[in-house]
Symmetry: C2
Subunit: 187 residues, 2 copies
């Protein structure tokens, strides 16, 4: 509100945004709470009030990440081909969230808000992955796991810069034929 405000106005959101920026720039371990506080123009202990400690901040990031992730997957349609592309698009567009989400040692994975959003995302994956191999029995998790693995692996490898050059700069386009390989009709 005011420049010299004792109350920042929306410190929680400001610190989270700064954290996401910092993580996207250089990973989830190169910044400090104190640096985020400086960026937000508050004292070094102000973030602790909202998040408790560093793990608390990362828990909040993971919770928001899983919520956005579930939204993205739910909005992608029932076919896994599209769910898979949405998975990869999320990983690239919301890289910071994605990197935190799949590093449970960084935050409190048993946080109820995190668990709920994560369950929502998992449901989309299991449901959508049936289309990979519709002939398999319902209890067989082979196809969902194969589908999940291939999109997750592609996303991780892309983010790490491990994939060979020559794929272009659009990860979703590059992933499209890769995912299709798993979907091709079988005899």
């Amino acid at each position: 509100m005011r420049d010299d405000a004792y109350h920042h106005g929306d410190l929680r959101r400001a610190v989270m945004a700064a954290a996401v920026d910092a993580i996207a720039e250089s990973g989830p371990a190169t910044w400090s709470l104190r640096e985020l506080a400086r960026r937000a123009g508050v004292s070094h202990a102000a973030p602790a009030h909202h998040f408790g400690d560093k793990a608390g901040l990362l828990t909040a990031v993971a919770a928001e990440g899983y919520a956005r992730f579930a939204d993205a997957l739910e909005g992608a349609g029932g076919d896994f081909h599209e769910v898979g592309l949405a998975y990869i698009r999320f990983a690239v567009d919301y890289r910071a969230y994605f990197e935190v989400m799949f590093r449970p040692e960084l935050y409190r994975a048993d946080d109820p808000e995190v668990a709920a959003a994560r369950a929502r995302a998992d449901a989309v994956l299991v449901r959508g992955a049936r289309s990979v191999a519709p002939d398999r029995p319902a209890g067989d998790l082979t196809a969902p796991i194969a589908a999940w693995s291939i999109v997750h692996g592609f996303a991780e490898l892309w983010l790490r810069g491990a994939l060979p050059a020559g794929l272009g700069d659009d990860p979703v386009a590059a992933a499209e034929p890769v995912i299709r390989l798993l979907f091709e009709k079988r005899p």
Copy 2:
């Protein structure tokens, strides 16, 4: 050698082993150089002599990891089905190495020793992955990337504990049908 030895004897190896243990226990960020020094019974600055700084130690871990990784893949036979299972077996058995290797922001990825071992592993992957879709032209990277993605994704998800229960406790056995799904003959 001697208990009160000024020279530890093999500090480099001792610190590396302690680091690998610590990383396997609780990730690549929860320990400190000083703690490793304490475990090895040396002063807080002794590790720096061998590794320079923390990134130097992690670079050494990554280099040794990639070397062992390349050995494991090369010894798995030419068929990608077996290479893929070896990939997953390595990720689980040498979890600490694997987790560092695929986190280039933690170490100096341009280190020549790292780059050489990594190139060796990449070669096995590209060569072996041809068997996934032998009908594709040689320059087409779709099949290698699909194969790499599915095993890497499975390994990551397994390590993170993200996969549903009910798969048993043997990741290699659990991965076997998943990988086969990608290999099934197509019309």
